[in-house]
C-alpha cells in the first residue's frame, strides 16, 4: 500500500532545487520568528532577574536624571553625585522599612583592563548590612570582610577571573595605587555584581576623600507592605531622588516596547514573504502536473483526495522549513543575542534570546498554520482540475 503522504513526499524530490529553496525560505523566516519571540520573552526575563537580584526594592540617590540613575545603578556607570550618610538613619526610622544599607560607588580607570583600558567598579559597602540584602550571594572562596575600614576586598566572579586573583592575593586599585587583600570571591550571579569589587565603606570614603558621604541607599521594604506611602514620604527629602526598581523595570520595558513592535513587524514581513514563496512553489508545481492530477482522477481520486495531496505537500515543506529554522535559531542563539544587544539602548545581563520548548511549539504551530493557509488555494485549484481538461491538453499539444 502506498499512502498519500508518500506520494506527496516523493513528489517534492522531483524538483529538488526548488524544494530546497522553498524550505530555506521558510527556515529563514521561522528562524527570524523564533528568535524574535525568544527575544520578547527573554528580555523581560533577564531584566526582571537583574532587578530582583539587586536585593532591594527602593534606592535613594542624590538628584539627577532618574533614567541615568537607574542605568548607573545597573551598569555601575560614572557621573556620580553624593549625599550625607545621616540620610541613612532618617530613612531607617520609617515604619515600612525593613533594612537599609549605604553604598558608595566609585569608578576607577584601569589602563590594563581590556585592550584600551576600562572602568573598574568599586562598591564601598557596610559588612554588617550589605550581605543581608544580598542573601543570594554565594562565595566561591573566603567570605565577607569584617571591619568597616579594613583594606580588604571581595571580588565578583568576573572581576576575579579578569584579574586572576585568589583569596589571599593582593589587588591594586589603579590611579590611587592602594593595595587591598582579597578575602572573598563570589560565585557567578549573572548580574552586574559579577564585575564589581566590594571593599569596606570607610576605606573607600577615605581613599576618595568622601568622608561620611555615600552615593546610594538601598532599602528593603518589610514583607507584604505597600511601598507607595513610603515612596511618597521619601520624595519629601531634599536633594535626593527615589528610584523604585519596579518603576525602572517599567520604564525600560516601555523604551523597549518600540523595539519590540519593530521586531514583530519584521517577523510578520518575513512570514508573509515565506508564505508567498510557498504559494508560488505549490501553484507552479500543480500547474506543471496538470495532466498527472487529471489522470489521478481517472484512477479514482476524489477532489478531496487531490486537495489533501497538495495540502500535504505544502505542510511537509513548511514543517521541514520550520524545523530547520528552529534548529538554526537554537544553534545561533548566541549570535542573535549579540546582534540584538548591539541595537538596544539597555541590555540586561544573561541570555536575551530565550528559546524554550513552549516557544518551539508555538513557532511550529505558526509555521504549520501558514502552511495550511498557503496550501488552501493551490490545493483547491488542483482539486478542481477535471480529467477531461487534462486529456484534452494532449490534443492541443
Amino acid at each position: 500500500m502506498i499512502t498519500k503522504f508518500q506520494v506527496a513526499y516523493k513528489n517534492l524530490f522531483r524538483k529538488k532545487i526548488r524544494t530546497i529553496l522553498t524550505i530555506v525560505g521558510i527556515a529563514l523566516s521561522s528562524w527570524v520568528l523564533v528568535s524574535l519571540l525568544g527575544f520578547n520573552q527573554g528580555y523581560e526575563r533577564a531584566l526582571s532577574k537583574d532587578i530582583d537580584n539587586m536585593g532591594f526594592q527602593l534606592m535613594i540617590m542624590a538628584k539627577g536624571c532618574p533614567y541615568e540613575a537607574a542605568t548607573m545603578m545597573l551598569k555601575g556607570g560614572t557621573g556620580l553625585r553624593y549625599m550625607d550618610e545621616s540620610m541613612l538613619s532618617k530613612v531607617a526610622q520609617e515604619p515600612e522599612v525593613d533594612k537599609v544599607t549605604p553604598i558608595l560607588m566609585a569608578a576607577v580607570f584601569d589602563p590594563n583592563k581590556g585592550e584600551s583600558g576600562g572602568v573598574a567598579g568599586y562598591f564601598g559597602v557596610d559588612p554588617k548590612t550589605f550581605p543581608e540584602m544580598k542573601t543570594y550571594f554565594r562565595f566561591r572562596q573566603g567570605g565577607w570582610f569584617k571591619d568597616l575600614d579594613a583594606y580588604e576586598a571581595v571580588m565578583g566572579y568576573e572581576a576575579a577571573e579578569l584579574e586572576q586573583r585568589e583569596v589571599g592575593d593582593m589587588i591594586l586599585m589603579p590611579e590611587k595605587n592602594i593595595q587591598f587583600k582579597v578575602v572573598g570571591i563570589l560565585d557567578r550571579t549573572g548580574t552586574q555584581d559579577d564585575g564589581t569589587i566590594f571593599v569596606p565603606l570607610r576605606t573607600l570614603q577615605k581613599i576618595f576623600d568622601k568622608n561620611h558621604q555615600i552615593t546610594t541607599i538601598g532599602i528593603k521594604i518589610k514583607k507584604g507592605v505597600d511601598s507607595a506611602p513610603l515612596e511618597e514620604k521619601l520624595y519629601q527629602l531634599p536633594d535626593v531622588q527615589i528610584v523604585s526598581l519596579a518603576q525602572v523595570k517599567e520604564t525600560i520595558m516601555k523604551l523597549i516596547s518600540t523595539a519590540k513592535v519593530m521586531v514583530l513587524s519584521i517577523a510578520l514581513i518575513a512570514i508573509l514573504i515565506a508564505m508567498v514563496g510557498v504559494i508560488n512553489t505549490i501553484l507552479t508545481s500543480v500547474w506543471e502536473r496538470f495532466q498527472e492530477i487529471g489522470i489521478l482522477k481517472t484512477i479514482g481520486a476524489m477532489p478531496g483526495d487531490i486537495f489533501r495531496l497538495i495540502w500535504m505537500e505544502t505542510l511537509i515543506l513548511c514543517l521541514a522549513g520550520g524545523t530547520v529554522g528552529i534548529i538554526l535559531a537554537l544553534i545561533l542563539a548566541r549570535l542573535t543575542d549579540i546582534l540584538i544587544r548591539s541595537v538596544l539602548p539597555y541590555a540586561p545581563t544573561g541570555g536575551l534570546v530565550v528559546i524554550d520548548g513552549k516557544l518551539v511549539l508555538v513557532t511550529l504551530a505558526v509555521i504549520l498554520g501558514i502552511g495550511l493557509i498557503s496550501g488552501l488555494y493551490p490545493a483547491w485549484k488542483a482539486g478542481r482540475i477535471r480529467p477531461l481538461e487534462a486529456i484534452r491538453r494532449e490534443v492541443s499539444g
Partner: protein
Amino acid sequence: MNGNQTIMEADALTKIYRRGSEEIAAVNGVSLHIDKGDFVSIIGPSGSGKTTLVNLLGCLDNPSSGILHLGERPIFGKGKPLSERELTKIRREVFGYIFQNFYLIPTLTVLENVMLPLTFYDKRGRSDDASRLLKILGIDHRKDHLPGEISGGEMQRVAIARAMVNEPQILLADEPTGNLDTKRSMEIVETLKDLNKREGLTVIMVTHNQVLAANAKRTFEMRDGQICELERTAFT
C-alpha cells in the same frame, strides 16, 4: 460466460461544441449497446469524434443530450448533468482507462504506480492484486524501476495494470498504441485480448490502425460524429 448481458447502452448520445457562433456536433446521435465481455474497437479519421464518444461512454464528460445506461443503471438522460464528484464515483466503480500518453507518476516505482488507485479507492480491499497483475502483464521484473527506466510498451502495460487494479468492468483505451511501434502495438493489443478472454473484461479501444482494430470482436467506424458497426470479423 454469458455473452448477451448488456453492460452499456447508449441512445442518441450527442455532444455539441460551440466554437464562436458555429456549433459542432462532435458526437451526433450515437446509439449502441455493448455486452459484458465484448471487445469493441472504434476506428475513424482524425476529428471524427472518437475521443469525444469514448469520453461520454466513460463518464468523463456530460453529453449535450441522449441517454446512457450502465447495466440497468441510468447515468445520463435524467435532466441535469452530473457533478464531477458523481462522475468520479461512477468512474471508479465501473471503468479503467488507458491513454496514448501513459501518464505514469514519474516519482513512483512501477509497483507503486500500479497500487496508487488503491490509495484513493480500494474496491475489494485486495492490495496483493498489484503483484499478480504485474505478473500477468509480464512486467513483474520491472516492479522496482521508475517509469523513466522502462520502454514505452512496458509503460503502457504498467498503465493497464494500474487501470485494472480495482477490477473495473470496462476498460476504455483511447489510442493505447499511438506512441508505440508496430511490434509493441501488437503486443499491447494481444494483452488486451488476453484480459478480455481470461478475465472477462469488457474492452473498448479506439485506434487508427485497421489491423489492430481487426483483433476486436466488434468494430465500429465513426465519421463526422456518427457511428456504424462494421461486419463482425472472425475473432481469433
